[in-house]
Amino acid sequence: MTLLADASLRLDAGFWDYTLIAVYFVFVLGIGLMARYAVSDSLDFFLSGRSLPAWVTGLAFISANLGAIEIVGMSANGAQYGMPTMHYFWIGAVPAMLFLGVVMMPFYYGSKVRSVPEFMLRRFGPTAHLVNAISFALAQVLIAGVNLFLLATLVDALLGWPRPVAIVAAAVIVLSYITLGGLSAAIYNEVLQFFVIVAALFPLTLVALNRVGGWDGLTDGIRDATGSTEQLSAWPGNELAGFDSSILSVIGIVFGLGFVLSFGYWTTNFVEVQRAMASKSMSAARRTPIIGAFPKMFIPFIVVIPGMIAAVIVPELAQYKQDPSTGEGVDYNDAILLLMRDLLPNGMLGLAIAGLLASFMAGMAANISSFNTVFSYDIWQRYVVKDREDGYYLRVGRTITVVATGAAIGTAFIAAGYSNLMDYLQQLFSFFNAPLFATFILGMFWKRMTAAAGWTGLVAGTLSAVTVFVLSETGVIDLPGQGSAFLAAGAAFVVDIAVSVVVSLRTAPKPAAQLTGLVYGLTPKEDLQDPRDRNEAWYQRPGLMAGIALVLIIVLNIVFF
């Protein structure tokens, strides 16, 4: 996307649109102000006590992610690749969320860790902890940049400001949002935002479907535009994975995207996991991602489908899809905004803008807030300035919020260089999440894994993902689409496991007594249960609900095969 040539993408908002946006912000800031009075000590600030019901944390869980990635990234992906984008939900996110709820959450909730680095510290000791804390903090700033860039795109589309000005303005908006309340307000706002976004995207999808001539109109349009039916079925997704061979493509999607990238993302991303930690019992914490999985599996219908329709009915985007060199200053990232511009009357336009503003803002706020947690507790408190009172670290956290927002302004310009943001995001996840997932899963199930293996595995895994990235950037490996990210993730995972196993066998393991609650075989069954959960109804049992979700996912995969 070029920096200035966005003249064709202007949203013509009127009085009532701005009224709706203003009402929304009064609500959001009002909740933030109220939450501010509840800030008692730093733990409250970050986790807001363990008292929220599971449906609230479940919606907040997916809402923390229903920002840049879902709306713009997935509609961009839908516009470019069509139905194979569904894999991000049905092979990727949902199975990973179920796995998190069934297998990993008991360890997180039971051991009361506040962040991934804290888990690393207790399982593998200081070196692994520091390596991970730094890599995690870096990842958060890079992803915050994506959210900031998208927020700026929206500000630009609304007001016509030049991109650099819009980015700084957007950063100021997010900063004021963060300073008015902690995670407690974030959870409220995220749930609110979930409903506003659905209220905006659901009618948008219906109108778009109506306009394109129903499902048949959409399939005809895409068949005519691409000359094949490949974009109309989810499998095998050659174009998405970048492999000519269908078998390799399926392996790339299932192992690279599904197993490593998505499991890595959802199970080790504490932006989301923190939401579950705020629930009131073990069972509620496990239900959080599982409850989230149900709406999550239907979200592609209101983000991917509109993206696909946009590439058919929006003239500029259809032209861009035919020949990317001729798009009049638009690219795939603009799919949803273009659709809003063409289909929504004033009024609904305001609702949709409010929803998008909220989600980009909250997405970035969540990145900054988890950067903040990791920096102030895991890096500053542990290695730099130790043993000060709670208030001191709270103040450090607030300063760091400003610093991180400044850094995100820089990373927003990196994000601006990609025409489909999913390419960029998947690349980042392959560096940061894939090796982390390998280390986690091995460390949780293999008590022999040693402290040295913890950090060497992580470093080796990240380096191999970066190597694959460099090789594909320099043209040594030629994988278009998101294949190079899938390959990088696969390489990171395999190398991480291999290095960890080799190093473990040559170094001394930690005593078993220190691993209780952190390693599966060494944790007594009763530690994974919660006495508060004795009287749960059938719909409150995590295992059963996960099973139902799994069946639904299989049905969806078959229907859209």
């Binding site: 009532w16 009224t19 709706l20 009402v23 929304y24 609500f27 909740i31 109220m34 006590g49 363990r50 008292s51 019901p53 599971a54 449906w55 609230v56 409220y188 749930v191 609110l192 409903f195 506003v196 209220a199 009618p203 219906l206 109108v207 109506n210 306009r211 009131k280 019992s281 509620a284 063409d342 289909l343 929504l344 009357p345 004033n346 009024g347 609904m348 609702l351 508060r532 009287n535 109804a537």
Partner: protein, 89 residues
Amino acid sequence: MSVSGPRTRRAGAFDIRVVIAALFGVFGPILLGVGLFGTSDADLEKSDGVNVNLWTGAGLLAVAVVFVLWAWLRPIVVDTEAVAGDERD
């Protein structure tokens, strides 16, 4: 907030369902109004004759009513000692 016996209290106005209902209770009528009085032919043409504002406004109001009823029938009890007991959600 008076403290008597176990430290629990209803979430009341802070109940997220009440907040959602309040927001949609403001959005709904605005959209309904725009849909009824402020819709031009050009607007209708954009969305192929469907009055999006009108329908969405009505939908939001319906959702607001459902949330109010839900919050009223099944209040959330905030348990300040984090002992949930047999509370449901």
